[in-house]
Subunit: 311 residues, 2 copies
């Protein structure tokens, strides 16, 4: 692990389960896996999107006996997530998948003081539980089957850092990055990877922009996002390289190096350089954002008055 | 903020609300605040413990007009937490407290594959929501009252890093450290601080040891914990110094410097040195722990067999 890539994980012939596989990152990743010869099962809620996605996967089929499947499930609860996993495994003699990519999730940015308890809980469900329940069902099944598989969680740049607007989302993405699973599932030789994508130009991104506060959009306006395809490539290559924390852009790489905790390093020479760069860049960024938040106070108060917050 | 302490926060005469104030860290902190002349309200569940704690607080009373109060509430839901805050504010003309210390919380370590969905959810409730709901109620009230107050959350060293045994607790403590609130509540000039205590020798610690897996206890056996009193002093001094992230021991300080994200620094000269030290020490620690986890595989499998996991 010291000098980077030393693994040659090959999904060819493996059964791989991708949640959130009907759109965005999940779909792009599923396509990569199908092209590599994997049996791919996707799960999402919307049957129409699943039908379209499955058609797209079929276009990339490599072998006639490659098993491609789409199942409609909600993954909001432990029960539904376990049921989804069972349905996914059924055509594979009920055996645990070789790898599970938990790509499902969504974000609904909003001011903290305007949020209801339900909206806060939905943030945790759609950012954390929707993946944690799948990881739990998969871990139990892999251990019972003695499958030395892989579990991949999808956090966000907002799992390393955060700012105004993400009080329901960023805690969920931080919760995913806790590295406990990586340590604990070593007991069973199961690998855990966490992906930290930046802004991805996906249908989910368009959806979250509908509720995103103006100040949050302003702060993000200088961000360079990535396409779902580019993010999926980075994720796939990161898993192949055996990286515990995987990033898809330079900014998040700097945060990875400077927010590492006990996560295993990628490269003992490059990582300290990233860390040093972050040491200089992060406070400059933070100071400029803090300034914008403070300058936004009067306008925000006016907004809250008009929204009836004080009424 | 560049060169450390530059704040002189003085709780004298302020109304301060401490959750989990009947025992451990919360009680020790409440005593410090009473000694400093603050009006202190504590909330916890158990009425007997609250009665004992209030007696202890009374012993440290500085003025006859100091308002010391104890209220019994569960803080598990948004509704209960909001009701607790209202009860706490009632003797203070219903005004928001000047500072809220969310010290309530507990941990129940257990193997991931043995946990039920309910146990996982309890981990998030007792590690995250029990504080997030209080922060939400307090933020809304402070904004409505135009109180430029302080909200202090209590995470853990396990909010910076993690290892086997803490799959229900560490994600919750990571969720608390997301730094979103610190950024967002700048809109209202409300300060947010997060405390990261190491092992504290408290009744809560004895409770969590009852379910703690052997491998987790083994890994922790070399830890130097701190007393609740020492932790409370570090927390109080950290808030006085205006630190966004507050620690109470050297190991957690190293993690603070090396897991900082965009959290404001304490000292631009010392923090890089801590970061460099962590760069060397953390992987050594991680490697030794990984080795112990791997060596525990056979014993753990035997344990699971005996526990009926494969049955």
């Amino acid at each position: 692990m010291l000098f980077g890539k030393n693994s040659t994980w090959n999904p060819d012939g493996q059964h791989i389960y991708v949640t959130g596989g009907s759109t965005g990152l999940g779909l792009s990743l599923a396509i990569i896996l199908v092209k590599r010869g994997a049996h791919v099962s996707i799960v999402a809620r919307n049957q129409n999107k699943l039908d379209d996605a499955l058609k797209e996967l079929e276009e990339h089929r490599q072998h006639p006996n490659q098993k491609l499947a789409a199942h409609s499930f909600s993954l909001d609860t432990a029960e539904e997530s376990a049921a989804a996993l069972e349905a996914v495994c059924e055509p594979h003699d009920g055996r645990a998948p070789d790898a599970v990519f938990a790509c499902a999730g969504s974000s609904k940015p909003k001011f903290f003081v305007e949020m209801s308890a339900e909206e806060m809980q939905n943030g945790m469900t759609n950012g954390y539980w929707v993946q944690a329940w799948t990881a739990m069902a998969a871990a139990k099944k892999m251990v019972r089957d003695r499958t030395k598989g892989k579990i991949i969680l999808v956090s966000s740049t907002l799992g390393y850092m955060s700012f105004v607007g993400y009080t329901s989302y960023s805690p969920a993405k931080h919760a995913l990055r806790a590295d406990t699973l990586q340590s604990e599932l070593m007991l069973y030789d199961i690998d855990v990877h966490i992906f930290f994508p930046p802004t991805m130009y996906t249908p989910g991104y368009e959806e979250e922009n509908k509720t995103k506060p103006k100040i949050t959009r302003d702060i993000e306006s200088t961000d360079d996002g990535v396409t779902a395809e580019a993010a999926a490539v980075a994720l796939f290559e990161g898993v192949r390289a055996g990286h515990a924390h995987i990033t898809a852009d330079m900014i998040t790489t700097l945060f990875r190096a400077s927010t590492r905790g006990v996560a295993p390093r990628h490269n003992i020479f490059l990582d300290p350089l990233y860390d040093m760069a972050a040491y200089i860049i992060a406070p400059i960024w933070k100071r400029s954002v803090d300034k914008r938040v403070r300058e936004h106070r009067a306008e925000h108060r006016q907004y809250l008055v008009e929204a009836g917050f004080f009424a």
